[in-house]
Amino acid sequence: MADAASAASRHSLPLARSPIATVSPERVCDGWVVSGCVSTAALTITDLTPLTKVLVRAPVDGEVAAMLGVGHGRAVPARLPTAGSDGDDAGGLDVLVVGSGPGEWTVLTQPGRAGDVIARLDGVCAASPGTVTLVDLTHGRALVRLAGDRAVDVLAKECAVDLSPLRCPDGTALRTVVSGVVADVVRRDREPGHDPLAGPEFVVHVERSSGQYLFDCLCDAGAEFGIEVQGFDGLWGSAGMTAAPPPTVG
């Protein structure tokens, strides 16, 4: 431990990187190196890997399930209260809660908030009976967003499941295979009316090491529809949060 004191000064400030190669210009967002490009194409693909991803495991029908407010197969926006507050605080954290399996949820939010999410959930979880597990999977998964009217057609080339609005309406979450890789798919359409990018959106979620492969496959499948890479713009896209704030959980 002789060198420990000076160790910090020897190395540069760490920056996290997605498994998916960036498209220039690069920029840094919340400690992550991300693509800074902007696309106006009708069909875009965005690397959302920097988003915070916390896995929650808890009894299927317990208090945690009730608190998260969504069951297996659905995804809803929500606001996590500050730890210890009564749920009506101004510091609520906007998240997307994905019911990714029976008794399994993935909480997604802006980068660098894993500790915060875990702290906010810990308070509720500690009080509930049954085993509850919170695992930060931010670095364990690659996340890609496909946005545009032809997003369904792109996925139809890579996934055997019927993702049309009839069988897979807004807010659907499912675990399936995309391009030969196990993936969690979330459909989260943008409301028409107050968002210029309104339309179907899919978030595809795979284990990290397959991220570049998946991204390449989706770009290849989307080429005929004129797909373009959109730089990192957060969970809610460049238009920011949806107009109506999501309900506060708890």
Partner: protein, 946 residues
């Protein structure tokens, strides 16, 4: 001397004729304002947009498009459609293109296939001279013996294989010219004729998602070559389709129907893609395949200029091509009559119409590369250059039979008719004949029922019934001719096969290859059955049909293969490895650095200083809950109850039969929190294994398993200077030997990255630390290790160096040094097994095994010749020559400067110092002896505990 009136027929355009291209026709699809040229056998040929290759060539006076499969007889247009067997051509680098279907394009390079030196003069036509020597099935008899000559036979036969060519070049890559998509229509309609269109429209109006698939480039079926009223109705139908939500796939062919109505469709003509395979999961499949006109069998029926009536009508009305100058028509139905009318209308001299309904027949066609005349039933010979036959229909019931339907033969109509199935329903001409309104009504009723779902009985709902009209049974005339135009099988061949004892139609098919060519029975099946029936003295119903199987039409391998989708897993440091010259090792889906050019040097660096290896693929499972220790006790053979926080233990998993399944270390990070590692290849298996035991046997245990393999980038630092290196990057962990001993685990900050897990474990036998870094920072930490270790001589090492190092240390690899039968005892891991445990997977077997002598045992072997590295998998033989073991791992050790080996050896022989014989790959033998211990370097583990 016989009079030969056909000699009077001119073989070129008649005097005063404007050419083979007709003036504008009402239903033509060509755009006369857009003309271009393409090449045919190197010569320019002009075409209009909308022309097929064949129609453009026919309009230029070309009559011979190919040579036949076996006898290389000249072949011309027969059906002028998707199924035409006579005009398969090569287009650029694409072989076997359907010339009568593929649209001509500017600059296309089209050539005839398998004719040498030219289509006009093909030397392989000499086959016809030895026709008697090569009857159907000749190769079953003549190229069997002597067997040693088979390779020579094979080469000769290869030269006669029919078809086009693909470039024989390593650069030839068409993988991006094919792809696939999935679709989920409620109703898929196969066939875009009037009944198919009506079915699609009514299903769509009933709210169903509908896909309408048509093999030709336009919707309409037979309406496309109809009269003014039919064309007007077609315009209206197309307008309705355009206004509907029906998804129309033109130039697309339904290939097959599989269980649960999985329907495969190959779709052409998409921008930038040659072919796309559509995998459609369909609610109800509506088959509206129409009827396919059946050729008539008589002598000379394959001479260019003998055409079906529908071919004539297509050429005249759709492509505005004059099919000949002087025609004889054999007709048994309205379509034949209409063809004669069409010909007269466009100025072709119809010199004779032979009406088969009143006993008329044609006996023989004269000519070789074009028709010159025809002998009629009344012994008259008529000079002509076009013979048109209209002798009946084949119902393409293929898709129905793939769904289990058994069509029956209707004697009166002389064709097969569908039986019944539930989720695949026929409509249109396939079902029966009717007026256009009746066809549309039937289609609409079927479509509406199809939209209601597969359980709906469409026949009860269908008021509009279609029944086949009576038709004369015309298959073969009074002479023998070609039956299978694709395979060059004649009716004479079929009769000969029956005479040889092949009485079953399935055997005749296999013996003669009739119906096995590209036409796949659509033109020749019913004639084949009829001729076999005639030859065997049975009825057609008694003879039955051969089996229709997918694909309905030939499909390219490219379409089936689609776009290559081979998942590839990369570590966060992959780019660094590539940039530093790593040779990739494909390990399952993972691409790992095998070495950076010098595996021996990399291994030496580890022994002398420090090396770092990317071990990210190592499986990692986050285990959380109060019952984790119970789980570990269950799945590992050793004991886990008292592992303190901060400690690590090596564990071995066995299956129920005591066979080694996987191994790895597990560390306890907190009271209820453990991190398990597995082998790289076993990560998914172990996760599934553990979840299986938890979910099925112990659902009451409070354990959550989360796979975190790729959440961490894993880097192993190995070598005597590894502590020195790591200490430069770690601030909050005391790395001293006494504070952080071997088989301990800590969490802390490495190179500024928080939440890292640092282990005192290794696979090389050296002092080593394994750092698990949140993966997004993997490259950062790796680069810091390289930078900070420069003065220590740090070197990246790959999997190959690691294999050398572990072999020197005598560490086994599950799956390499064990196999599907190796028990813990045989893997020299028996000492770990705690048979006094209350329960563990495989325990009963392990208890029994502990009381018996194992079959074999893992040993280290020292070869007499230090430079000899026996091949892995090589046999170990006893004094009596009996196989008594095998080499499981072997490498040359740069440290010991001799080879190191592990092997499985009969336990009776697995004594230290025992001499064995190795049988080498070249058949020679070499001596070796069993080593004292598995580890050849630091057997007491002093270095790794340092």
């Amino acid at each position: 001397m016989t009079r030969r009136p056909w000699r009077a027929v001119r073989s070129t355009t008649p005097r005063g004729d404007p050419g083979w291209r007709l003036p504008p026709q009402p239903g033509e699809v060509i755009d006369r304002s857009r003309s271009f040229t393409f090449s045919w056998n190197g010569r320019p040929c002009s075409a209009y947009e909308g022309d097929t290759i064949a129609s453009a060539l026919a309009a230029s006076g070309v009559r011979v498009f190919s040579r036949s499969f076996k006898y290389h007889r000249p072949r011309g247009l027969l059906t002028a459609s998707f199924h035409d067997p006579g005009c398969m051509v090569q287009v650029g680098d694409e072989p076997n293109v359907r010339g009568a279907h593929r649209r001509a394009e500017p600059g296309m390079r089209v050539s005839a296939q398998d004719a040498w030196p030219s289509l006009a003069l093909d030397v392989k036509a000499a086959n016809a001279l030895v026709r008697r020597a090569i009857p159907a099935g000749f190769y079953y008899k003549t190229v069997i013996r002597p067997q040693r000559l088979w390779p020579a036979y094979e080469r000769v036969l290869e030269r006669f294989a029919h078809g086009g060519v693909v470039p024989d070049s390593p650069e030839y890559d068409v993988s991006d010219r094919f792809d696939q998509r999935h679709a989920h229509p409620d109703v898929l309609v196969a066939g875009g004729g009037p009944a198919g269109i009506a079915a699609a429209l009514s299903a769509s109006r009933a709210g169903a998602r509908v896909m309408l698939v048509e093999e030709e480039a336009d919707l309409g079926g037979h309406l496309r070559w109809g009269g003014a009223e039919q064309l007007a109705r077609l315009v209206e139908l197309r307008r309705q389709v355009a206004d509907s939500d029906v998804e129309v796939l033109l130039d697309a062919c339904v290939l097959g129907r599989y269980d649960d109505n999985l329907v495969s469709v190959v779709h052409r003509g998409l921008p930038g893609i040659d072919e796309r395979l559509v995998k459609a999961r369909v609610g109800t499949l509506v088959v509206a395949a129409g009827l396919i006109e059946r050729p008539y069998v008589f002598a000379g029926n394959d001479v260019p200029g003998v055409m079906l009536s529908t071919a004539v009508r297509r050429l005249v009305n759709v492509y505005a091509v004059r099919p000949g100058a002087r025609a004889v028509v054999l007709t048994a139905n309205d379509e034949g009559d209409a063809a004669a009318d069409d010909l007269r209308r466009v100025g072709v001299e119809v010199v004779h119409v032979e009406d088969a309904r009143s006993g008329g027949d044609i006996v023989r066609v004269h000519g070789r590369s074009r028709v010159r005349g025809v002998d009629l039933a009344d012994r008259r010979t008529v000079a002509c250059d076009l013979v048109v036959t209209a002798t009946g229909w084949t119902a393409p019931v293929s898709l129905l039979t793939m769904a289990g339907d058994r069509p029956g033969y209707d004697d009166a109509a002389a064709r097969f008719v569908p039986g019944r199935t539930s989720d695949v329903v026929p409509t249109g001409g396939l079902v029966g004949d009717g007026t256009l309104d009746e066809l549309l009504a039937h289609g609409a009723a079927v479509g509406e029922a199809a939209a209601a779902g597969p359980d709906h009985d469409e026949r009860e709902a269908t008021g509009a019934a279609l029944r086949p009209r009576p038709h004369p049974a015309l298959f073969r005339g009074r002479t023998h001719g070609i039956v299978d135009f694709s395979e060059d099988v004649s009716s004479h061949d079929l009769v000969a096969a029956v005479d040889e004892g092949y009485r079953d139609v399935e055997l005749v098919k296999r013996y003669t290859t009739a119906t096995m060519g590209p036409a796949q029975g659509k033109l020749e099946l019913v004639n084949t059955v009829a001729i076999v029936a005639e030859a065997t003295g049975r009825s057609i119903a008694q003879t039955g049909t051969t089996t229709w199987r997918p694909p309905y039409a030939p499909v390219t391998l490219g379409a089936l293969a689609g776009r290559p989708r081979e998942p590839r897993r990369l570590s966060p440091m992959h780019g660094w490895h590539v940039a530093h010259g790593a040779t990739p090792l494909v390990a399952g889906a993972w691409i790992r650095p095998d070495h950076y050019g010098d595996p021996g040097g990399e291994a030496s660096a580890v022994r002398s200083s420090v090396g770092i290896i990317d071990v990210t693929p190592i499986g990692k499972l986050d285990l959380h809950g109060p019952d984790v220790a119970r789980l570990l006790n269950l799945v590992y053979v050793n004991r886990w109850s008292k592992l303190p926080v901060g400690r690590v233990r090596y564990g071995v998993m066995c299956a129920e039969d005591g066979v080694v399944l996987d191994d790895g270390v597990t560390g306890r990070l907190g009271e209820d929190h453990y991190l398990m590692t597995t082998t790289s290849s076993g990560a998914a298996t172990v996760w599934e294994w553990i979840e299986g035991w938890l979910q099925t046997e112990h659902p009451d245990w409070r354990v959550h398993v989360t796979p975190v393999t790729t959440a961490y980038a894993s880097i192993n630092l190995a070598g005597p200077r590894s502590r020195d290196l790591l200490s430069r990057l770690v601030q909050d962990i005391d790395l001293a030997a006494e504070a952080f001993p071997y088989l301990h685990v800590r969490t802390g900050t490495v190179a500024g990255v928080e939440d890292c897990v640092v282990w005192r474990i290794g696979f090389t036998g050296e002092l080593s630390f394994e750092v698990h870094v949140p993966a997004g920072y993997g490259l950062h930490v790796w680069e810091q290790l390289v930078e900070q270790g420069q003065d220590l001589g740090v070197r990246a090492f790959g999997v190959e160096a690691q294999r050398i190092l572990r072999l020197e240390k005598g560490h086994l690899i599950v799956g390499q040094d064990t196999d599907g039968l190796t028990t813990a005892e045989e893997a020299a891991l028996g000492g770990l097994v705690r048979v006094d445990k209350q329960d563990a997977v495989g325990l009963p077997e392990l208890v029994v095994a502990s009381r018996q002598s194992p079959r074999s045992r893992l040993v280290a072997l020292v070869t007499d010749d230090p430079d000899l590295v026996p091949a892995e998998g090589g046999q170990i033989v006893g004094a009596d020559g009996r196989i008594c073991g095998r080499i499981t791992s072997s490498r040359l050790s740069p440290t010991l400067e001799r080879s190191v080996c592990l092997g499985q050896l009969d336990s009776a022989l697995a004594r230290p110092g025992h001499r064995v014989t190795l049988r080498l790959v070249d058949g020679s033998t070499a001596g070796a002896k069993v080593a004292e211990r598995l580890a050849q370097i630091d057997p007491d583990g002093v270095r790794l505990r340092g």
